[in-house]
């Protein structure tokens, strides 16, 4: 039986096990939408802006570990996804983006709603395709999903001209993938693994620095085993939060620009830095030459380009993090005369414990105005780490990372690499679609939330009960903080003079709205908001000039921290 390209696409999505699609229709993809009702297993969520669609697909992917799918039309539909594509690319998130394209005879003629999205997206996708013949469609979709989720995951875009969607062919889904040019290396090199165990045996001040790769390779269990068994303290990047239980005494918190004192000091003094699935981003390393100055560095990463990109590495292991950590465990298990790890690392653990005790994360409580850190703490207290937390970008993001604890991977979704304001709310929608029964909370700022607030309509129309907690300080807070500290308090263009009334805004969309101005009311109102069955905004009026501390000024050494 012959099918149109549009039907072939939808059949492929079924074969890939897709359940949810986030999209927005248009002329170029109208054929796909025409056939969509024939596939009730594919749930489509109509967003209000294509950026919302791609972030929702991304949030779905981060929360589930599966490939997120986003479907948009040609031209502006396609270009509106670029920010979200770059966001997914920087954080290595598997997403397949289906874009419509003008009919092939019109390509290059500046046709209505035509844009070279394959060209535009090239620098920020793992790979992309323009499908020119309906016969190629099935294998391209198969490859797209395979590329998105294997190796170092990432976004893959498929551009579909309208005439290809209308052309007919016999649908056959290829069984196997064979790509001579793409074979990611997943298994660790045995000799390198042996070197790591040797270094572990000699080290007296080891430190694990874990990143998003631990989460994307589902290696949290292996990481936790290694650190607990060998008594190694753990710090992680923003992207790595949740891979190691946040209530474990070995947990030091995040490192880097807004990392904890203990984590940054530990990096400064470790003799063996075990970097797992992390890429030495500049927000993490600070001044490169002072980063882990006395350490041998082991770097495990599935992507060879990550290794020695920023720092020199003594033992590189190009492998899937999970397989590499399992390899280390197996090697340790056959190793004779291992030291008693508690003994071997005792003075180091004492030192680290002292740093933790002497300089914990702190803030000064006040009843009114409310301190934003207090709100985040309350959210954690009420949810006990069982919620999925997403964030926007800026101070709200850093406080969420600092003052919540994360016990499980895929419970903290945030735009780490690109730092995309407007990410958190649509991402929360995506996560909530995947886990309808979980509590999903977007911790937001008053600036960021306005970048994709239109998705409130999506949340309300599908009754997606995401809760937004706005830490409303009336500023673009992080930039204001930089202006205060490094630009002589010249608060140029960071004051949000005219914020909307967020309570009324929520109500206008048909959601619930709450406002809190006193610390004593925070718990009660959060409970109330979390208990209602639909989406809600909690507008928390917080101290306008509260800063995120500790802080390492850009380009300084990690051990040069501004503590308060």
């Amino acid at each position: 039986m012959e099918r149109t390209g549009a039907q072939v696409l939808l059949e492929c999505l079924l074969q890939e096990g897709v359940e949810s699609i986030f999209g927005f229709p248009g002329g170029a993809v109208i054929d796909i939408y025409h056939h969509l009702p024939e596939y009730p297993a594919l749930r489509h969520f109509l967003v209000r802006h294509e950026q919302g669609a791609i972030h929702a697909a991304d949030g779905y992917a981060r929360a589930t570990g599966r490939v997120g799918v986003c479907l948009v039309t040609s031209g502006p539909g396609a270009t509106n996804t670029v920010t979200g594509i770059a966001t997914a690319y920087m954080d290595s998130i598997p997403v397949v983006i289906i874009t419509g394209q003008v009919p092939t005879p019109l390509i290059g003629n500046d046709a209505f709603q035509e844009v070279d999205i394959v060209g535009i997206s090239r620098p920020c996708v793992k790979h992309n395709y323009l499908v020119k013949d309906v016969k190629d469609l099935a294998w391209i979709i198969k490859q797209a999903f395979y590329l998105a989720r294997t190796g170092r995951p990432g976004p893959v875009l498929v551009d579909l001209p309208k005439d290809v969607l209308q052309a007919k062919t016999v649908f056959e889904y290829p069984e196997a993938i064979s790509m001579r040019s793409y074979n990611p290396n997943l298994a660790p090199n045995r000799r390198q693994v042996r070197k790591v165990t040797e270094l572990l045996r000699q080290s007296r001040r080891p430190l694990v620095y874990s990143g998003g790769g631990v989460i994307s390779s589902d290696a949290a269990e292996e990481l936790t085993w290694l650190c607990r068994t060998l008594r190694i303290p753990v710090t992680s990047t923003l992207m790595g939060l949740g891979a190691f239980p946040g209530d474990d005494p070995l947990w030091l918190g995040m490192l880097g620009m807004h990392g904890t004192y203990a984590a940054n000091m530990a990096v400064g003094h470790t003799d063996l830095l075990l970097a797992v699935g992390a890429r030495f981003d500049d927000r993490v390393t600070g001044k490169i030459s002072s980063f882990a100055p006395s350490a041998q560095v082991v770097h495990i990463d599935v992507d060879p380009t990550s290794i020695r990109k920023n720092v020199n590495v003594d033992v590189p292991i190009v492998a899937d993090c999970r397989q590499a950590l399992r390899g280390i465990r197996e090697e340790l298990e056959i190793c004779p005369d291992l030291p008693d790890w508690s003994d071997a690392h005792q003075s180091w653990l004492e030192q680290v414990g002292e740093w933790q005790r002497d300089h914990p994360l702190r803030y000064t409580f006040s009843e009114e105005p409310i301190k934003p850190q207090f709100v985040v703490e309350k959210i954690y207290e009420l949810t006990k780490g069982e919620a999925i937390i997403t964030t926007e970008v800026g101070q709200n993001q850093m406080w969420a990372a600092q003052f919540s604890k994360f016990h499980r991977p895929r419970t903290f979704l945030t735009s780490g690499g690109l730092g995309t304001m407007g990410y958190g709310f649509p991402a929360a929608i995506g996560a909530q679609v995947a886990f309808p029964d979980k509590l999903v909370i977007d911790i937001a700022g008053d600036g960021s939330i306005q970048m994709n607030i239109q998705e409130m309509a999506t949340a309300v129309s599908y009754n997606i009960p995401v809760k937004i907690v706005i830490l409303n300080n009336g500023y673009l807070g992080m930039v204001r903080q930089w202006q205060e500290l490094f630009y002589a308090k010249n608060y140029c263009a960071t004051c949000m003079h005219l914020n909307p009334d967020f309570v009324k805004l929520a109500e206008a969309y048909g959601a619930a709205g709450f406002r809190v101005t006193k610390a004593a009311d925070v718990e009660r109102v959060l409970k109330e908001a979390f208990a209602i069955p639909g989406p809600a905004i909690v507008d928390v009026v917080v101290e306008p000039e509260e800063n995120v501390y500790p802080m390492v000024p850009a380009g300084a050494a990690l051990t040069d921290m501004l503590l308060v």
Binding site: V118, G119, R122, P123, K126, H127, L130, L147, M179, R180, S181, Y182, D303, P304, T305, R308, K309
Partner: protein, 161 residues
């Protein structure tokens, strides 16, 4: 340091811009770039000359390998290899100086591929040093037009110390 990279790629639309975009997007430098199909259907060979410190070159080769359409990357710099470039030079050659130009052409084993009353067009192949030498010799006659292919290179079969 100058490096010569031999890059085998899938011959499909956009592959050149993927490679070039990688260089420009990451601030790497391309000195010359040459592309042509291979004998195997669907594959093309690029020869790219670039320069940078070892760590940069390592990044370039790794980033190239990471592109889905790149099959193989070989850095020929530390191997013995044959390197050639072809250049067309249109040089002033009025009657009284024509013999001299032809003599130089002969010494460099150039071919004369076009001739007119006032100029000669020469075809030269060779490595960079030879090209530089003949260009500097011909410059005093006046070079009217100049076109070069960029380097093509191949690993030598025998790697003799």
């Amino acid at each position: 340091m100058r490096h010569v990279l031999s890059v085998l790629v899938e011959n499909e639309p956009g592959v050149l811009s993927r490679v070039v975009g990688l260089f420009s997007g990451r601030g790497f430098n391309i000195e010359t770039l040459n592309v042509g199909p291979t004998l195997e259907d669907g594959l093309s060979l690029m020869t790219i000359t670039t320069s940078g410190e070892e760590q940069i070159i390592e990044q370039i080769t790794k980033q190239l390998r990471k592109l889905v359409t790149v099959v193989k990357v070989v850095d020929l710099t530390h191997l013995q290899s044959v390197e050639r470039e072809m250049v067309l030079i249109k040089v002033n050659a009025e009657d009284e100086r024509r013999a001299e130009v032809l003599r130089i052409a002969d010494i460099f084993r150039c071919k004369v591929v076009d001739v007119s009353g006032n100029d000669l067009t020469l075809e030269i192949t060779g490595d960079q040093g030879k090209i530089r030498a003949i260009v500097s010799l011909l410059q005093r006659f006046g070079i009217k037009e100049f076109a070069r292919t960029g380097t093509v290179a191949m690993r030598r079969s025998m790697q003799v110390d």
